[in-house]
């Protein structure tokens, strides 16, 4: 495992653990999702350089576009749930539990 591979894998795993275990604010969950996406962006950018495949250099841009769309949707949901539930605490989202 090269140092580059190790760095983006550990960034992904750490932000995934943050998403899974730090469950107070919706904003921090969205930030963890964004850092997962950014670590994968690093992985996707470095892959064509390591493998000398320049035809692949379009893919990180596509991925970044979709992660930006996802972040926008996340912020819209943040605004909507703050307006309906009063705050962005995740423990307020308990109306639907059985």
């Amino acid at each position: 495992m090269s140092p580059l591979h190790l760095s983006f894998c550990s960034a992904f795993v750490l932000s995934g653990l943050g998403l899974a275990f730090h469950r107070t604010h919706l904003v921090s969950a969205l930030l963890c999702l964004e850092s997962m996406m950014l670590s994968m962006f690093v992985g996707l950018t470095m892959w064509p350089i390591e493998n000398q495949t320049p035809s692949f250099t379009m893919v990180p841009i596509i991925m970044l576009t979709f992660s930006a769309c996802e972040a926008g949707t996340g912020l819209a949901i943040l605004v909507a749930s703050t307006r309906t539930h009063g705050s962005d605490h995740l423990h307020n989202l308990s109306l639907l539990q059985c």
């Binding site: 997962m36 994968m40 996707l44 493998n51 596509i62 996340g74 949901i77 909507a80 989202l93 639907l96």
Partner: protein, 346 residues
């Protein structure tokens, strides 16, 4: 909502599903999954009710994390093997990550908690989309990689899905939650056969789609969100209620109806693969879900409890019959005699 929004969302849903099921490259498959997730969120939170917004939040968080995990597993595979082909997922770590990610997307058992809550917070037709169309792209990815998946892990998850889906549906009175747990236990039947016979898993999913669409559309017709509404709806649509009982028994998998066909074929295939204990366990576990299907079926027919009812009788209003509901109901009741042909086509 702007009248142009619904066609745009419908086209996006069709586009995302088509991209994912026809792609051969991991990035394109991930793109289709993202388009699907982004297009269904306005449909869930269409009514700006707190419950709808909460369902959209939960759906967004789980699906975004799961699709990030899908892309990460394919990046791991590409760094290890140097190719992006979906059918050649050879790296063992990325196989495990992909199984976990697809299980989150589908709602298989260790990751199933979001599914009943999202279904409870969304309207009935969106719930129909969530339990049929939204499960098709992840299931396709699982089918395309089925040669390299871990059979022990999938069998364990399948048995746990059938058990927990049946068990947690027992004390529900909300129809959408009952149908969510029925979806979880049907996913258990799909996942147990996936490695051994992918065609049969696809056939099971098609038949489950037909049966659950018929039930959702019938419930949408009588506007029944909980059991007591079904109890008084026999004055409103008597024929639909009798058909609803048959459709529910078909969903439970009783012999003369369609739902028996996938269970029959799956148990036969499992016994051929010398997995008789797993076949016996999953057949026994489907009895748990039979209990709540039977309760829904009791409520949908005239079988009232012998005490006086507290609910208002509903007026009989003449409504035009719905052709899709009729077609789906006939298919979900009468397809068992055609099972050799269907088995040969799929």
């Amino acid at each position: 909502m702007n009248p142009h929004t619904t066609p745009v969302l419908a086209i996006s849903l069709a586009l995302g599903t088509t991209i994912t099921i026809s792609s051969n490259h991991w990035v394109l498959a991930w793109t289709g999954l993202e388009i699907n997730t982004l297009a269904i969120i306005p449909l869930i939170s269409k009514s700006h009710h707190p419950r709808a917004v909460e369902a959209a939040t939960k759906y967004f968080l789980t699906q975004a994390a799961a699709s990030a995990l899908v892309l990460f597993s394919s990046i791991t595979n590409a760094w290890a093997t140097g190719q992006w082909d979906i059918t050649q997922l050879n790296h063992p770590t990325s196989c495990l990550l992909l199984t976990a990610a697809i299980a989150i997307k589908l709602g298989l058992v260790p990751f199933h908690f979001w599914f009943p809550e999202v279904l409870q917070g969304s309207p009935l037709m969106t719930a129909l989309l969530l339990s049929t169309l939204m499960k098709f792209p992840p299931l396709t990815l699982l089918l395309m990689t089925s040669k390299s998946l871990n059979p022990t892990l999938l069998t364990a998850m399948a048995l746990a899905s059938a058990a927990l889906g049946g068990w947690m549906g027992l004390n529900q009175t909300q129809t959408r939650k009952i149908l969510a747990f029925s979806s979880i236990s049907h996913l258990g039947w799909i996942a147990i056969i996936l490695v051994y016979n992918p065609k049969l898993a696809l056939l099971t999913f098609y038949l489950y789609t037909i049966m659950t669409s018929a039930v959702f559309m019938a419930l949408n017709k009588i506007k029944a969100l909980n059991l007591s509404t079904i109890l008084t709806s026999w004055t409103k649509t008597p024929m639909l209620n009798a058909t609803l009982m048959l459709m529910l028994l078909s969903l439970a998998g009783l012999p003369p109806l369609t739902g028996f066909m996938p269970k029959w074929l799956i148990i036969q295939e499992l016994i051929k693969q010398e997995m008789t204990p797993a076949a016996m366990a999953i057949a026994m576990l489907s009895l748990l879900s039979l209990f709540f299907y039977l309760r829904l079926a009791y409520h949908s027919t005239i079988t009232l409890p012998p005490n006086s009812s507290n609910h208002m009788k509903q007026w009989y209003t003449s409504k035009p019959p719905s052709t899709p509901t009729a077609i789906l109901a006939s298919l979900s009741i009468l397809l068992l005699p055609l099972s050799p042909m269907i088995h040969a086509i799929v």
